[in-house]
């Protein structure tokens, strides 16, 4: 990682200096170990309580008609189905818009435009998700969703999905823009030299060359969408629970939404009750799903780096 320090007996330094260096290194090693400790802590706390949860219920309860933790109904299909719906809607918004923005910024925009637009995208990325949740609740659902579908409910999975989509647009845009800008200029020049138009160069040369990075951006964005909590908690509606539903125009429950509503009413959900323990089971499911997506995304990121 670094240039080797000079070696040899004369260059080893005084004992005090070497003691000093050793101490510094010891501190650094100890501090770095913390990150491993944190991961271990997360995994252990999730696994132990999740197993305890599974031990405290009957298996059919996991496939009840809906997710009503206080009534002992812990339907996994309900919460996972809701999460999948929200993620699909979010990706349907964020993938085309984010990708188009990325192509514009990487291939079309003048440097001055980029300099103005990129910080604004970063500000959008920095807006707390609870604010977007409120936005989804007060603007997206009443104005957009109910404007298009008058028979939609007061809170809908669609509004939550659109809100999450807005949240991940900057992520899709910035990661895929980085991937496209990493494509060597010579490829573009070769394409223009053959007489290709800008659109042809962007879509047939740059995009295929950057495809690993773009796929990585989409996977990481999906992982982010699955794990997003506050927008769903505010805009998807089902605070007490929900029957199994995939209807985007009605309220629904997701992995994260179920966790938030359990914890937000946590005064009476404590200790060893199954409802309390189900928090950790949901967290474990969520952890496994996002970890899988992130590892998959990492594979694609690494492939981009190796290409050129």
């Amino acid at each position: 990682m670094t240039a080797a320090a000079p070696s040899g007996s004369r260059l080893r330094g005084t004992p005090a200096r070497r003691r000093n260096e050793g101490a510094v290194k010891g501190v650094l090693v100890a501090v770095s170990g913390l990150s491993v400790l944190v991961s271990a802590g997360i995994v252990l706390s999730l696994i132990f309580e999740a197993i305890q949860f599974l031990g405290s219920i009957e298996l059919p309860q996991l496939f009840a008609d809906g997710w009503f933790p206080r009534r002992g109904m812990f339907s996994i299909p309900t919460v996972v189905g809701g999460s999948i719906m929200v993620t699909l809607i979010a990706m349907a918004v964020a993938a085309p818009i984010g990708l188009a923005s990325a192509i514009y910024l990487a291939e079309y925009a003048r440097p001055r435009t980029r300099k103005i637009v990129k910080p604004m995208l970063e500000i959008l990325a920095g807006i707390p998700s609870v604010v977007l949740g409120f936005f989804a609740l007060t603007i997206i659902n009443p104005v957009v969703v109910r404007g298009l579908f008058p028979d939609a409910k007061a809170s809908t999975l669609l509004a939550a999905g659109l809100g999450v989509g807005i949240l991940i647009i900057p992520l899709v845009a910035s990661v895929s823009e980085d991937a496209m800008r990493a494509v060597p200029q010579s490829l573009r020049e070769a394409s223009y030299g053959l007489g290709a138009r800008r659109i042809t160069t962007s879509l047939r040369v740059v995009l295929p060359a950057a495809v690993s990075g773009v796929v990585a951006a989409l996977i990481l964005a999906a992982s982010r969408a699955v794990g997003e909590t506050m927008i769903v908690a505010l805009a998807a509606g089902a605070t007490a629970g929900s029957l199994f539903t995939l209807d985007p125009l009605g309220p629904g429950q997701t992995l994260t939404g179920a966790m938030a509503s359990l914890a937000a009413g946590s005064d009476n959900v404590t200790g060893d009750s199954s409802a309390f323990l189900s928090l950790f089971f949901l967290g474990f499911l969520l952890f496994v799903i996002t970890l899988g997506l992130n590892l998959l995304g990492d594979v694609f990121v690494r492939r981009t780096r190796q290409r050129y």
């Binding site: 650094l28 990150s35 970063e122 604010v131 909590t229 937000a264 970890l291 992130n294």
Partner: protein, 309 residues
């Protein structure tokens, strides 16, 4: 002769220009531009909507909104407890996550041998950065709330648990951005240091860290801004939803109930009364002032001190 030449060059020019207007190209450009403008328009509508609803609250109540405690009565409710909570969380995160994160980055970039253990730590950190924030809340609930309640510090649901949870949450982010900044420092600078007899730690402390400081600072400020806007982990790590009051002693500040600005936004956003809509927007404006300010500082720092070696 000269007419032939003119005709020829005109033909060449026309054929180079293409015979038809590039309709598809124009439409494509328009679609791309529209997507980008659409994104920026959402940002404008979002902020404008909060301003429209929130500013009247400030006009009517003035500083009173900022200095009043939480209340179930909309005309009395204020955000002072959220401001105090968010400030305390911010200080805790800065004190805990920044030194640990930066030192870990120094170890990984400057000291760690390139072996399997280092690679494991590296992969581990990158995966931690992708863990949803709500899962960190579970860690906070299981580890920190449990720890403090076992120690007898209140019921464990205090600002210490919240601060530790948020610090752990942004730790991977701080490590990754700091490591990138350190990696960007060219090796020639280190070699110059070693060349005049500096030890490894001297090189790191006197040469590498000062050169990487702008990048590290930008990354840490962004991470702090992210922490201050987080809600989900705080819900699990025991921040209070709804109003509460404390005796106001210094031990109550640390061991008693606490809340934060995003928690207040979440709580009020769920209330059905119309008056709380306006209050929510006003609270959002306070929250956005904090996070956007932090973001702007980070962007400014990066543009001001951005160096290519």
């Amino acid at each position: 002769m000269s007419t032939t030449q003119a005709v020829t060059s005109a033909t060449v020019a026309r054929s180079l220009r293409g015979k038809r207007v590039d309709v598809v190209g124009y439409v494509f450009t328009a679609v791309l531009l529209f997507s980008l403008l659409f994104t920026l328009a959402i940002l404008a509508v979002l902020v404008g909507d909060q301003l429209q609803r929130g500013v009247p609250v400030f006009l009517e109540r003035g500083g009173d909104f900022l200095t009043s405690p939480l209340s179930s009565r909309p005309d009395r409710a204020g955000v002072i407890q959220g401001i105090v909570g968010t400030a305390m969380l911010g200080v805790m995160v800065a004190l805990l996550a920044f030194p640990v994160g930066i030192l870990t980055a120094v170890y990984l970039e400057e000291y760690a041998p390139a072996n399997a253990v280092t690679r494991f730590i590296d992969v581990n950190i990158r995966n931690l950065a992708g863990v949803p924030s709500v899962v960190y809340g579970l860690l906070g609930l299981a580890a920190f709330v449990g720890f403090f309640s076992a120690l007898g510090v209140g019921n464990g649901r205090n600002v210490l648990s919240g601060g530790l949870t948020l610090a752990v949450l942004i730790l991977p982010l701080v490590i990754i951005t700091s490591a990138e900044a350190i990696r960007a420092v060219p090796n020639t600078i280190r070699e110059a240091g070693y060349g005049i007899g500096a030890s490894r730690w001297q090189v790191v402390r006197r040469l590498v860290l000062p050169s990487a400081a702008p990048g590290i600072l930008t990354g840490t400020v962004l991470a702090l801004s992210r922490a201050l806007g987080e809600t989900a982990p705080l819900i699990l790590a025991g921040a209070v939803l709804g109003s509460f009051s404390t005796a106001g002693g210094i031990d109550d500040l640390f061991a008693g109930p606490y809340t934060a600005l995003p928690m207040i936004v979440f709580d009020w956003a769920r209330k059905p009364q119309e008056e709380f809509r306006a209050l929510t927007s006003a609270a959002i404006l306070v929250l956005l002032a904090v996070t956007i300010l932090a973001n702007a500082v980070a962007i400014f720092l990066r543009n001001r001190y951005d160096r290519t070696w």
